[in-house]
C-alpha cells in the first residue's frame, strides 16, 4: 500500500482531522436512514448500550484495542436492539419506554462492570475505556484510521448496492413488503450499519456526542432537499465538514462537544436559511401568499362594486372600498395594484383599468364558479359558500376552473354571463342599501 508510509508520517492533529471527517461522513449517511425511519434516538440508545460490552470485552480479553472493544460493544448493542424488539412485541410497554429502559439499564450495568474493571485486582487501567464515555480523539492511532476507513468503505458499498431497497423501505415499508422485498432483513441491515458506525465512533466523540453525530447532519440535510440521494450526499458532507472544523475551532475544548456544536450550528443555519423548508423561506412564502390573497380580494371587491354599472367602469369612492370588507394595509395594496396597471387612482377615487377589469373578472369568475360548485355538488347553503370559496379560490388551478365551467355549462346551470362572470349565488353587500 503506497499510502501507508504517508499515513504513518501524519501528525496527530491531521490524524484526528481525517478520523473525525471519516466518522462524520459515515454518521451522516446512516443518520439519514435513522432519521427518516423515525429512529433518531436509536443511535443514542446504542451508544449507551455499548458500554457494558466494552467493559466485558476488556474483562474477558484483557485487551484495549479498538477492535476487541468494538466487538464487545457491537454484541451488547445488538442485544439491546433485540431486547427492545421483544419488549415491544410481547409486552404492554411502548417503544419509547422500551428504549429508555434498555438504554438506562444497560448503561447501569456498564457502570457496574467498569467499577469492577477499575479494581486493582483486575488490572487497574481503564484509561482507554473512559474514552468510551466522553470521547477522546487525541488517542487516535493510525490503526483506528484504517478501521474507520474500512467501515466507511463497507458502508458506502452497502448503501450503493442496496440504495433502491433502502429507499423504498424508508419511505413506504408496507409498499415494500407488498412488493415482496425482504423488509425485515433490510431493516435489520440498516440497524446493523447504524450500530457499527455508532460503535466505531464512540471512542472518538463519546456517548452523547455520537448520538448527535447521527442526528444532526441528517436533520440538517433534510432541510435542503426532498430527494434521498442528495440528502445522503449532503449529510455526509455536513458530517465530514463538522469533524475537522469542530476539532480545529474547538482547540483546547473537549473535541466531541466542539464537533457537535459545529454540527449544531450547521443545523441552525439551515433551519433559518434553507430554501423551501427553512424558517425564513417559509415565513417569506407565507407573507407572499397573504399579500397575493389580499390583492386578489381587492380586485374582486372592486369588480363587485363596479358590477352593476358595467360595461361602463365607474370611479369608486375610496370610502366605499375601504368599508366594503376588512382590509389589512389597504393603502399599500392599492399602490401595488396601481403600479401593476390594474387600477387608476386619484386622491379619493379608484377605477379599474380595462386590463384590471379583465383580471378582476377572472378572479370573480373563479370565486363564483367554486361557490356554484359548492352549492350544487356539495349541497352547501348559498349563504355559507362565500367564506369557503374565499379560502380555496386563490389555489384553484386554471384547468380545474375550465372543468368547472364546462361541467356547469353542460348541465345548463351556468347562468347568462356578464363579461363571462356568472352572477353571485348569494346576496352581495353591494345589493344592500348603502348607508
Amino acid at each position: 500500500m503506497s499510502g501507508l508510509p504517508l499515513l504513518l508520517g501524519l501528525s496527530l492533529s491531521s490524524k484526528v482531522m481525517i478520523g473525525t471527517a471519516l466518522l462524520g461522513g459515515m454518521a451522516g449517511v446512516v443518520g439519514c436512514f435513522a432519521v427518516l425511519r423515525g429512529r433518531a434516538l436509536v443511535g443514542d440508545m446504542l451508544a449507551h448500550a455499548a458500554l457494558p460490552g466494552v467493559a466485558l470485552a476488556f474483562l474477558l480479553m484483557g485487551s484495549r484495542s479498538i477492535l476487541t472493544l468494538s466487538v464487545g460493544a457491537l454484541a451488547t448493542g445488538l442485544l439491546a436492539i433485540a431486547t427492545i424488539a421483544v419488549i415491544v412485541r410481547w409486552t404492554r410497554t411502548k417503544e419509547d419506554a422500551a428504549i429508555g429502559i434498555v438504554l438506562s439499564t444497560f448503561f447501569g450495568a456498564g457502570v457496574v462492570l467498569l467499577s469492577v474493571v477499575q479494581k486493582p485486582a483486575v488490572g487497574g487501567n481503564k484509561a482507554g475505556l473512559n474514552s468510551y464515555l466522553f470521547g477522546d480523539p487525541g488517542n487516535m492511532l493510525t490503526g483506528d484510521l484504517f478501521v474507520l476507513a474500512l467501515v466507511g468503505a463497507i458502508l458506502l458499498f452497502t448503501v450503493a448496492l442496496l440504495f433502491k431497497e433502502f429507499k423504498v423501505v424508508c419511505f413506504d415499508t408496507d409498499f415494500a413488503q407488498s412488493q415482496g422485498w425482504p423488509t425485515l432483513t433490510l431493516d435489520l441491515l440498516m440497524m446493523a450499519s447504524l450500530a457499527v458506525v455508532t460503535i466505531v465512533g464512540l471512542p472518538i466523540v463519546g456517548v452523547i456526542l455520537m448520538a448527535a453525530m447521527i442526528i444532526l447532519p441528517a436533520a440538517t440535510a433534510r432541510f435542503w432537499t426532498n430527494r434521498l440521494h442528495i440528502m445522503l450526499l449532503l449529510a455526509a458532507a455536513f458530517g465530514i465538514a463538522a469533524g475537522p472544523l469542530g476539532t480545529y475551532l474547538g482547540r483546547g475544548f473537549p473535541a466531541g462537544a466542539a464537533i457537535v456544536l459545529t454540527a449544531a450550528s450547521f443545523f441552525g443555519v439551515s433551519l433559518l436559511l434553507a430554501p423551501d423548508r427553512g424558517v425564513a423561506a417559509r415565513l417569506m412564502a407565507e407573507y407572499q401568499l397573504r399579500k397575493r390573497i389580499t390583492r386578489e380580494h381587492l380586485l374582486r371587491s372592486l369588480y363587485e362594486l363596479s358590477e352593476s354599472q358595467l360595461p361602463d367602469i365607474p370611479c369608486l369612492p375610496l370610502l366605499t372600498v375601504s368599508q366594503y370588507r376588512h382590509w389589512d394595509s389597504l393603502e399599500k395594496m392599492l399602490q401595488l395594484e396601481a403600479e401593476a396597471g390594474t387600477i387608476l387612482r386619484t386622491e379619493q377615487t379608484i377605477q379599474l383599468t380595462p386590463f384590471g377589469l379583465r383580471r378582476a373578472a377572472e378572479l370573480t369568475k373563479a370565486h363564483r364558479l367554486w361557490e356554484m360548485y359548492l352549492v350544487q355538488y356539495a349541497d352547501i347553503a348559498p349563504d355559507h359558500v362565500d367564506r369557503d370559496a374565499d379560502d380555496v379560490e386563490h389555489l384553484l388551478p386554471e384547468s380545474l376552473l375550465v372543468e368547472l365551467e364546462q361541467q356547469l355549462a353542460e348541465e345548463d346551470r351556468l347562468p347568462n354571463l356578464v363579461a363571462e362572470v356568472p352572477s353571485s349565488p348569494h346576496e352581495l353587500d353591494t345589493d344592500k342599501p348603502q348607508q
Binding site: 433518531a40 452523547i208 475544548f253
Partner: protein
Amino acid sequence: MQLPVTLATLSPDAWIVLTGAATNVACALVGCFLVLRRMSLMGDALSHAVLPGLVLAFLFSGSLGIVSLFLGAAAVGLLSTFLTQTLHQYARVPSDASMGVVFTSLFACGVILIKKYINGLHFDIACVYEGSLELVPFTDSLAGLPRPLFTTLVVLIVNLALVLAFWKELKLSSFDANLATTMGYPSAALHYLLMTMVAVTTVASFEAVGSILVVAMLIVPAATAHLLCDRLAVMIAISAGVGIAASVLGYWAAVYCDTNIAGMMTVASGVLYGLAVLFSPRYGICSTLLRNLSMSIRVLREDLLSMLYRIEELDASKSLTAAKARAALDSSWLARWAIAALARTGRIQRVGDRLQLTDAGRDDARQLVRSHRLWETYLVEHLGMPLDHVHEPAHRIEHYIDDRIRQELEENLETTEQDPHGREIPD
C-alpha cells in the same frame, strides 16, 4: 429543624439507601406520567439538556445552592421543551430527531461551559453520567440530613404536592390529551409543568445518581408498575414501591459485589422490570402463554368430545382409537395431554386402544354439539349464509357459547329440532 438523634446518627449505609429510595420515589411520581404520555425519552433528553443550566446557575450564584440550581434547571428545562416543540411544529423536524438535536446540542454547550469556566471544580464529568451515591454520607449536611438527600426530599414533597394539586388535569391529559383540550384544560401548560418537574427532579438526582441512571429511575419503575395494574393511583404507588425495592436490592448487591451503587440500583430495577415482564399476572409473558396453552387444551378437549359424540351418532358400533384421535386433532403432545385430562376427569374411558364416551362425557358433548348446531341454524336463518360456509365459524365459536347464549339462541330460532344440514340438534 432539629431531627431526632436516632436519625442523625444513622449509619452511612442507611443514608445511601435512604437517598436512593427518596430519589426513586421522587422520580416515580413524574415518571408514571412520562410513560403514560409516551414521552419517556423526554426524561433522557431533559436530564442531559439541563447541564448548561446548572453550569450557568453555578456561574451566576457562585455556588451549588439549591435554589439557583433549581432555577437554572427549570429555565433550561422549559427552554429545551419549547425548542423541541417549536422545531417539530414549525420546522417540521420529526419529533424524535428534534429531541435529539436539542438535547445533544445543549449538552455539548454544557460540556464547553464546564471546560471554559469551572475546570476541575465541583463538576466532575464522570459524576454527570454516573453520580456518586457512595459519597452521600460525607457531604455537608442541611437540616441534619446529607445535602443530596435534603435536596431530593424537597423535590419529592414538591412533586407530591403538584401531582395531588393537578391530579385530575394530569390524569385526563395523560390518557386523552384531545379530550382534555376540548374540555378546556390547558394541555400545553400541563405539558410544560410536567417537563419542568422532570427537569427539576433530574437535577435534584444529579449529584446522587447521575444523568443516565436518573433516566432509569424515571422510567423503569413506572414501566414495571404499568405492567402490573390498570389504575393510575395504584401505578404510582407500585412504581414508588418498585423504586424503593430497587434501591435496597441494588445497594445490597453493590456492597456484596463491591461495585458502583447507583449502577447496581439501575440494574436491580431493570431486573425487577424483567420479572414483571415474565410474571405479571395479567400482562406477563408467562401468564399469557399459560392462558393460551390452557385455552388450546380446552379447545382440543372439547373438539375430541364432540368428535366422539358425532361418531356415536353416526354409527353406535364404531369408535375411535387414541392414535387416530391424536392424528385428527393434529397436535400430538397437546392432544395427548387433552386425552389424558379427559380420561382423568371421567369424560372418556379407554376400552382396549379405543376411546369411548362415559355418560358424563356424553352430556358435555351433547351440549357442545347442541351449541354448534344452534349456531349453524342461527347463521343460516338470520344471516342467510350458505350451507357450506356455516360449519367453520360454528366450529370455532362453539367453545365460547355458554348457557345464556344457548338460551337466547333457542328463543330466537324458528327451528331448534334440526340443524340446516338436516341433523338432529340434541337436547
